[in-house]
C-alpha cells in the first residue's frame, strides 16, 4: 500500500505541546503543511504569541520569534521590513490579538504589512487558565465571567475580528474558518494557502481567523468542544471569506 498521509517533519518528532484535542495542534499542522508545499521551510519566520502557542517553539523546526504579549504584529512588522523576502507567519490567540494587542493588529493590517496572520479564536484565555477573552460568547462562562458573559453587565460584546478588519485598506484577504470537522479543516488549509500565496505575491495583509476548541478550559470533552464550535460559535462567527483580493465581500450573515 502507498503512504497517502504522513507526518510533516517541520514539526519535531514529538506530540504537540498542547492538551488532548486542542485546535492549536491541528492549526500548526495546517500551517507547516502550507509552508512545506510552498517550499518555504528555510525562509519562514514564525511569530509565536504569548498564549498557549508560545510553546510552538518547542514543536516547530522553524526560525521562531517570540515577542511580548500582543506586540506580535509590531515585531512581525519589524522583521518583514528588514527581510521583505522572508515568509512571516503571524500566529496569535484572541487575547493577544483582540485585547492587549488591538492597536498593533489594526495598524499592521492597515499599513498592509505583507504578512500572513493566523488568528486562533478559541473564545478564551487558554494559557492563563480560562479567563474571559474579547471573543468569549455572550452567556459563555469563564473564570472571570463565572455567571456567563453579560454585555449588559459591562462585560462587552464578543469582537468579530474579520468584520472589524475587512474595512481597512491594507487588508487584501480576510476569512474565517474552523477546525471542528474534517471538511472544515480542509477549507482552513485552503484559506491558509491563499494567505501564504498572497504574501509571496506581495499583495499585503492577509488574516485567517480560525475557530478552535479549548476543551480543557471550556470544561468539555474534545468531541463536545468541537460540537460547541459547530453549534454555538459559528452562529455568532459566520464562516467564509470577508475580503478577497482587496475586495470586501458583501454578506447577509448579520
Amino acid at each position: 500500500m502507498k503512504k497517502v498521509y504522513e507526518r510533516n517533519n517541520i514539526a519535531f518528532d514529538m506530540p504537540s505541546p498542547y492538551c488532548p484535542g486542542c485546535g492549536h495542534g491541528v492549526i500548526h499542522r495546517l500551517v507547516i503543511d502550507a509552508i512545506k508545499e510552498n517550499r518555504q521551510e528555510d525562509n519562514t519566520i514564525f511569530m509565536a504569541p504569548v498564549g498557549c502557542s508560545i510553546l510552538s517553539y518547542t514543536y516547530l523546526d522553524l526560525d521562531v520569534c517570540q515577542p511580548a504579549h500582543g506586540r506580535t504584529p509590531a515585531a512581525a512588522t519589524g522583521i518583514k521590513r528588514a527581510l521583505p523576502d522572508s515568509l512571516v507567519i503571524l500566529y496569535q490567540g484572541d487575547g493577544d490579538l483582540a485585547a492587549i494587542g488591538t492597536a498593533e493588529i489594526i495598524h499592521a493590517a492597515n499599513r498592509g504589512e505583507n504578512i500572513t496572520a493566523i488568528f486562533v479564536n478559541n473564545a478564551i484565555y487558554g494559557m492563563t487558565g480560562g479567563q474571559m477573552a474579547p471573543t468569549t460568547l455572550v452567556g459563555q462562562t469563564a473564570t472571570t465571567c463565572p455567571y456567563g458573559r453579560n454585555p449588559k453587565d459591562g462585560q462587552g460584546y464578543p469582537i468579530r475580528v474579520c468584520e472589524l478588519l475587512q474595512s481597512l485598506g491594507g487588508v487584501t484577504y480576510a476569512a474565517r474558518t474552523s477546525v471542528h470537522s474534517a471538511p472544515n479543516v480542509l477549507k482552513t488549509k485552503k484559506a491558509i494557502q491563499t494567505g501564504i500565496e498572497n504574501q509571496m505575491a506581495k499583495k499585503g495583509f492577509s488574516i485567517i481567523e480560525i475557530l478552535s476548541a479549548c476543551p480543557v478550559n471550556w470544561g468539555m470533552t474534545p468531541e463536545k468542544a468541537n460540537q460547541f464550535v459547530a453549534n454555538e460559535m459559528i452562529d455568532y462567527y459566520p464562516l467564509g471569506d470577508f475580503k478577497k483580493d482587496g475586495k470586501i465581500i458583501q454578506r447577509s450573515d448579520h
Binding site: M1, K2, K3, V4, Y5, E6, R7, N8, A11, M14, P15, S16, Y18, C19, P20, G21, C22, G23, H24, G25, V26, R29, S181, A182, V185, L186, P215, T221, P222, E223, N226
Partner: protein, 72 residues
Amino acid sequence: MAKKGKIEVRIEHCKGCGLCITACKQEAIALSPADVTNSYGYPYLTMINENCTGCTMCAIMCPDQAIDVYRE
C-alpha cells in the same frame, strides 16, 4: 468496491482525544481500553476492523500528527 486502506498510529504521540474516531465514517478505529495506555498515561488509537478505506479524515483531524495513512 471501496478501496482498501490502513493506518499506522504513533502510539506515544496519541493523546486519546478521540477526534479521529468521530471523523471516521467507516467506524474502523477506537481507543484502547482505559487501562491500556501509552507511557504518558493516554489510551491510544487502534484499528478495530478491516473497514479502513484510507480516506485520511482521521489523520486530518489529529492535533498530534499521530496517524499515517496508507491506501492501495
